[in-house]
Structures are given as structure tokens and as C-alpha cells.
């Protein structure tokens, strides 16, 4: 089987802009505090091969607030530990009655592999370094609540872009809507070929230059273990790329400071930046729920 079930959300790259707009509009009508039983009787399987706090709980709450049943399957403590293949796990979950599978996996392309072999929708909750489409959608949703249009918006993404599925999805999404995207980071985290991802991408190694006149600054998490063995040392990274209040002030006065989480205060951003008025980090998490409600409702054909 190689047809992918309608409603699957595997990545932003191949999505039509209209489809994205539709989801964002639908999300505006979703309210987790006013439950509507749109998905009553539906079974949503949450299959997580990697640790996750916000994405997992956000999907779970989104599904439950529409009346769906959710079951969480973690790779540890399941047959996966015994060597069961991804596809066999997928067939098993389908056989127990899953109507939709949300999957997070350390390997790029794993959700697509599942979707190609299943007749139910698969939603990518993050696959390796590839994409994290629901994060990009909730970020777009968050931006849209503060900015009139994506077109011409000066967006800066700072940090470890190479390893970041959040960055790839955000770049695909924002560039589809005409945002002007600047990428900023050391060469190890931001190779020159990153500009091949979408048209019109710019690279700078200076965070000051990147921040100047920005409308949106997305700061990415930096994993300390990734800095090990690299030319750039942790202290240098902090000195050159950490988002500080001084650097943030270079941006437009109404600029948004975003971060997909989890944040490490004192590393990629300072304590003050995380909590400053421009920071929408907590709002992003909050917006994740209605956005994922919209994704699930649409995938299961219950969007109204």
C-alpha cells in the first residue's frame, strides 16, 4: 500500500498554503475549555519513540477535549524494546482499533513510512532532524494572533538549525507565505547549504545583524552534548549567540520572542529574555492545544 490516508500531517514542505490557512482558521474556532464531542468514539494512539512533555500532553488534551479516547505507547516498556519493527508496531496499533496515530520518532521519515503502509491518518509529532509540522503550525498561529500578515515579516531563527526539525518546518511554512527569513548560527549549526531549503533565505553569523529590525525572533534550543567536539565552545556560543535583552532591543519594538521549548535559561537565552513582555513562549504552548484540535478534527473528518 502506498496511498497516504487523507488527513495525515507528515510535514509542512509538501503542504499547500491554502491547507495551512484552513487549519489555522479552524484552530481559531477550537476552544479546549468548551469541549465539543467532535471525536466521540474515536481512538487516537500516541506513539512516542522519544521523550516529550509539551507535544505529548498537548495532543492528549486536544484529543480528549473533543471526546476521543487516547492511548499512549512509549517505546520503552513495549514490544518495541523487544525489537518489533516500526511497521509491525503500526499494524498492531491499527489492529487494536486506532483511528489515527500520532508519532514521534528519532528517525527522519518514520511517520511517512507508517503512513505509506496504513489506511488511517498519521500525524508527525517530530521525526528526527526532519520536520515538526504541528510546532510550525502552532507558531504560525501564535504569530498570526499578533501580526496582520506573514508577508514581508522579518523572521529570524537563531541557533542549531542543522539539527532542528522545528527550524525546517518553520522555514517551509513561513516562506510559503512570503516572510523574509534570516538564519543565524555558527557554521556547525548552520551550514551554507541551509539556504537551499527554501527560496530567499539569508544567513548571517552575527546575531546583532540578525536581530536588527526583526518582527519575530525564534530562538532554538542548544543541546550541550552537540557542542562537544565542535570548534565552538559553550562559552563562545553563549557570548556570540545567546539572546540577551541588549540584542532583543535591536529588534522592532513589537517584535515577538519565540522558542519551541524546552528552554535552557542561561544558554540560548537569558532569564530576562524568557520572561520579557515580548516573549510568547508560554502562549506558544497554550496555542498548541487548539491547533492540534484542528489537526485531529480535520484528520478524522469531523471538522466543522
Amino acid at each position: 500500500m502506498n496511498r497516504i490516508a487523507r488527513g495525515s500531517l507528515l510535514g509542512i514542505e509538501h503542504m499547500e498554503a491554502a491547507e495551512i490557512v484552513g487549519l489555522l482558521k479552524l484552530a481559531r474556532r477550537m476552544n479546549p475549555f468548551k469541549p465539543r464531542p467532535l471525536l466521540r468514539g474515536k481512538r487516537v494512539l500516541l506513539l512516542f519513540y522519544e521523550a516529550s512533555t509539551r507535544t505529548r500532553s498537548s495532543f492528549e488534551i486536544a484529543a480528549k477535549s473533543m471526546g476521543a479516547m487516547t492511548t499512549l505507547v512509549l517505546s520503552s516498556g513495549s514490544s518495541i524494546e523487544k525489537g518489533e519493527s516500526l511497521l509491525d508496531t503500526a499494524y498492531t496499533l491499527r489492529a487494536v482499533g486506532a483511528d489515527l496515530i500520532v508519532v514521534r520518532h528519532p528517525n527522519a521519515g518514520a511517520p511517512l513510512l507508517m503512513a505509506k503502509h496504513l489506511d488511517i491518518p498519521v500525524v508527525n509529532a517530530g521525526d528526527g532532524m526532519h520536520e515538526h509540522p504541528t510546532q510550525a503550525l502552532l507558531d504560525a498561529y501564535t504569530i498570526s494572533r499578533h501580526k496582520k500578515s506573514f508577508k514581508g515579516l522579518q523572521v529570524v531563527i537563531v541557533g542549531d538549525i542543522y539539527h532542528s526539525r522545528v527550524a525546517r518546518s518553520a522555514i517551509h511554512l513561513l516562506s510559503k507565505f512570503g516572510a523574509r527569513i534570516t538564519l543565524c548560527g555558527p557554521p556547525e549549526f548552520l551550514p551554507e547549504l541551509a539556504t537551499s531549503l527554501a527560496p530567499g533565505l539569508h544567513i548571517t553569523r552575527s546575531v546583532e545583524e540578525a536581530a536588527r529590525k526583526a518582527d519575530v525572533i525564534i530562538v532554538l534550543r542548544v543541546q550541550k552534548e552537540r557542542l562537544a567536539g565542535m570548534k565552538i565552545k559553550l562559552q563562545d556560543y553563549i557570548a556570540r549567540y545567546q539572546m540577551t535583552m541588549t540584542r532583543l532591543k535591536l529588534a522592532k519594538r513589537d517584535a515577538l520572542l519565540m522558542h519551541p521549548g524546552p528552554i535552557i535559561r542561561g544558554l540560548e537565552l537569558t532569564w530576562e529574555v524568557a520572561d520579557c513582555p515580548q516573549s510568547v513562549i508560554v502562549e506558544e504552548v497554550r496555542n498548541g492545544v487548539p491547533v492540534r484540535m484542528a489537526i485531529l478534527a480535520k484528520a478524522l473528518g469531523r471538522a466543522r
Binding site: E13, A108, D127, M129, H130, E131, R165, P191, A194, L197
Partner: protein, 435 residues
């Protein structure tokens, strides 16, 4: 499959165009095979006397039997992927009368006993199998194997294929000892210190898919080093397996110019495909070396035409579905390639790139015999072995992987249309495959 297991008997191939680059022949010629050897070559209808069997080759090319320098037959140890019997059957269907099999089996072919075992008739080979032995014990890159013993048992070269011989000292020693007995050293050129966890070529496709990329430098740097090391020993013979990058080609050219005995092979998939073709994580496009950039492919095409490349080799690498229909990063490297090699060469190199048929035949015959010593093969000169490949350069056909004679199905070319098809494969005077 074999009509006549003994080499006795005679076969007259009439009416075809004989292309034998080793003998510099490209003309309408009849070929008489007798007792496993080429008995006579003559202008049409000039061969007198009878033959037990006649083959009408009108409209077809008669070529020396093709030689594939790089196949994985998976025996011993991984018979669920391939056996010597199935792998050589696929070889015959692809026009190959001889294959050199790689030692990365289970166990690794690092002893004369295994080299002997591999060549026993019980294995069921339908084409000639020339084993390539491991260069180091268990291909661990530390202790050299017994080159003399391996050569005596029938090994035609040594390699640690699947991985490189990384250490400068061990590679130097390998070339030195091998040079004393005129044994070629085949290197899988990959600096694995640079390619950890990589599953694809480094470039825009890798970045887009979120996959770690192998840099061209990981191949080129090893080739450069090896050429320098080979230069230190007169008689050292270095062969670069499945060369895939423009920079590695430069190193080979430099070596050839400075009279180092360096040769190289290129696979059909590397001259036909590029990394972009991986598409959305299609594991049938995952191989090592990976499919490279368009510029690398262009460089290979030039080198195939101008003579820098010595041979086309398939790197036939069968794998079972459970090793391929999985996450891209976890899927094993490699594709099957024996049955599509000639079609790909004619379609892409001859018809598209206008490389003459004689050069393509050379890449499958005389070229490989410059790499390994297979006396009496790679040519149809009188007295040589009666290994013949007969093909139709104009025949259009579609490859159906489900009908492959290989035990495995891992190919990116299922459903591809080719021009140029094998009509008959004759090994030692016996027709082992007939379309």
C-alpha cells in the same frame, strides 16, 4: 539451466557483430567455440566444418563475456539475501560470465579454506566466480591476512570492502605485501571517521530530509592517500571500488598521470542517478557510496567516456525486505544491479551520452581484466575461454523486479524502461542464459 555441464562440444555463433576491444575488433564476424575455448574467429561464412550447435546472432552484438568486479553473493552466512546459485543466475541473466565476489560475508572470507569452499561446484555457480579475499583478519583493519595462501587458493584481489582500510600503516603494509605477489588491492574509499550515522550524500537533499550527509571529501581523501601510498611500491596495484565523486576522479587521474597503477570502477547507479532521486526516503536509493550530486555524476560520465574509468561494476548488494522496508536511517546500504547494468549502460551511456558501443563493451570486458588478472578472459581472441555475451543493443524492455533471478528485490529500477538487452550468456562454451 546448463544444457551440457561438460565443456565438450562446439557452438558456432553466426552473423553477429563482434566487438572485442582487447583484440581491437569491431566487425561482422563468426565465432566458433569448441571444448570451452574460442576455436576460431573468421569473416562471415568462412568457418568450415560443422558444429554441434549454431547460434544465429544476426542483428546482435557478440562480446567477450562480461566481468563484474564487484558483487556480493552473500555466501557463506546470509543465504536469505542471496546464494551463489541465485546470484550467479542473476549474473548470467545480466550478461556476466564472471563475477568477483566480495569477502564481507559471515564469516568474512579471510582464510584460504573459505576461498576454496566458495569455488566448489556444490555451490551451484552458473558463471565463473572469482573470490576477492579480505585484506585483514575479519576485515577489522588490524592484521593482514595470508595474501600468498589466499592467492594460491584462488583469490584475485584483497579488500575489506564494506569498510575501508583506514590506518595509513596497515594500508601501506597491504600494498607492500600485495605488490610482492602482484595482487591488486581493492579499496572501499570512505573515511568512516567523517561519515558516522550518515545515510545519504551531503547536500541540499540531505539537509531537506534531515539526514546526515557523507561529504565527497570522505571518499576523495582516502583515494588521494592510497594513490600516494601505492606510489611507494613498484608493482603495487590499487583499485578504487565504486568511485562516486569528482574529487576522487581527480586523484585517480593524477595517479595515472604519474604512472601509479591505479584503476577504478563506477556503478550504473552512480552514473544514472543523483542524491535528489532519493525523493522521500526511498530506501531503494540508499547505497554506499551514496548517490552524489549532479556535478559528480557529470564528472563520472566524462571519465567513463575518456577512459579514466576502467570498469563498470554493479556492487550488486542484495538485501531482504526487513532490512530495506524500514526507517531510512536504519535501512541497509545497497541495491541489486546485475540484471540492469547492460541496459543502463546502453540507455544512458550509449544512447544519451553517445559513448560508442565498443567503449561500453570495453568497460565490461577488457577494462576489468586490467584490474584483476583473469588470463584468457575479457577477450575472444583465439584460444581464450569460451565466455561470450550476446546482446541486442536496440531491444527495448522493461525491468520487472519481481521476475529477478536474484533472491532479493531491492532495486530502484523496477519498472524502468531500457534499451539494450542480453540475449544469451555463454560460459565456457555452454549457454547459461537465453532470453
Amino acid at each position: 539451466m546448463a544444457r551440457d555441464k561438460s565443456n565438450l562440444g562446439s557452438l558456432l555463433i553466426r552473423g553477429g557483430r563482434l566487438i572485442d576491444p582487447a583484440s581491437k575488433i569491431d566487425a561482422l564476424m563468426d565465432v566458433l567455440l569448441r571444448d570451452g575455448r574460442v576455436a576460431e574467429i573468421a569473416l562471415p561464412n568462412k568457418i568450415r566444418g560443422g558444429a554441434n550447435e549454431k547460434f544465429d546472432a544476426r542483428g546482435l552484438i557478440i562480446a567477450p563475456g562480461f566481468i563484474d568486479l564487484h558483487v556480493h553473493l552473500r555466501e557463506p552466512g546470509q543465504v536469505y539475501k542471496e546464494t551463489i546459485a541465485t546470484g550467479t543466475a542473476a549474473a548470467a541473466a545480466g550478461g556476466f560470465t564472471s563475477v568477483c565476489c566480495m569477502p564481507n560475508t559471515q564469516p568474512i572470507l579471510d582464510s584460504p579454506e573459505w576461498i576454496t569452499w566458495l569455488q566448489q561446484s556444490e555451490r551451484g555457480a552458473v558463471v565463473n566466480v572469482f573470490p576477492v579475499a579480505a585484506a585483514t583478519h575479519a576485515s577489522k583493519g588490524a592484521v593482514l591476512t595470508d595474501f600468498r595462501g589466499l592467492q594460491r587458493a584462488g583469490a584475485v584481489a584483497v579488500t575489506d570492502d564494506g569498510k575501508p582500510i583506514l590506518s595509513d600503516d596497515i594500508m601501506r603494509e597491504t600494498l607492500r605485501v600485495a605488490s610482492e605477489i602482484n595482487l591488486p588491492v581493492i579499496q572501499h574509499a570512505e573515511d568512516t571517521r567523517m561519515t558516522e550515522n550518515c545515510s545519504i550524500n551531503d547536500g541540499p537533499t540531505a539537509f531537506r530530509l534531515g539526514l546526515r550527509g557523507m561529504k565527497a571529501a570522505a571518499e576523495a581523501s582516502i583515494v588521494e592517500r592510497d594513490v600516494q601510498l601505492a606510489q611507494q611500491f613498484t608493482g603495487a596495484r590499487l583499485h578504487v571500488a565504486h568511485l562516486s565523486t569528482a574529487d576522487a576522479l581527480k586523484a585517480v587521474r593524477r595517479g595515472k598521470r604519474s604512472r601509479v597503477r591505479v584503476t577504478c570502477e563506477v556503478t550504473p547507479h552512480h552514473f544514472a542517478l543523483i542524491d535528489e532521486n532519493v525523493g522521500e526516503y526511498d530506501t531503494n536509493f540508499k547505497m554506499n557510496p551514496p548517490l552524489r550530486s549532479a556535478a559528480d555524476r557529470e564528472a563520472l560520465l566524462v571519465a567513463l567516456a575518456d577512459g579514466t574509468v576502467d570498469a563498470i561494476a554493479t556492487d550488486h548488494a542484495p538485501h531482504a525486505p526487513h532490512e530495506k522496508i524500514i526507517e531510512f536511517e536504519r535501512a541497509l546500504f545497497g541495491i541489486i544491479g546485475l540484471e540492469t547494468a547492460l541496459g543502463m549502460a546502453i540507455t544512458r551511456l550509449h544512447r544519451e551520452q553517445k559513448i560508442p558501443l565498443a567503449r561500453i563493451v570495453e568497460l565490461f570486458t577488457a577494462g576489468p581484466t586490467r584490474v584483476v588478472d583473469l588470463r584468457g578472459r575479457g577477450t575472444l581472441a583465439r584460444g581464450s575461454y569460451a565466455d561470450v555475451t550476446i546482446f541486442d543493443p536496440k531491444k527495448r524492455w522493461t525491468f520487472d523486479a519481481s521476475k529477478s533471478l536474484s533472491k532479493s528485490r531491492n532495486t530502484p529500477f523496477n519498472g524502468w524502461q531500457f534499451t539494450g538487452k542480453v540475449v544469451a550468456t555463454i560460459v565456457g562454451g555452454v549457454i547459461q542464459y537465453r532470453a
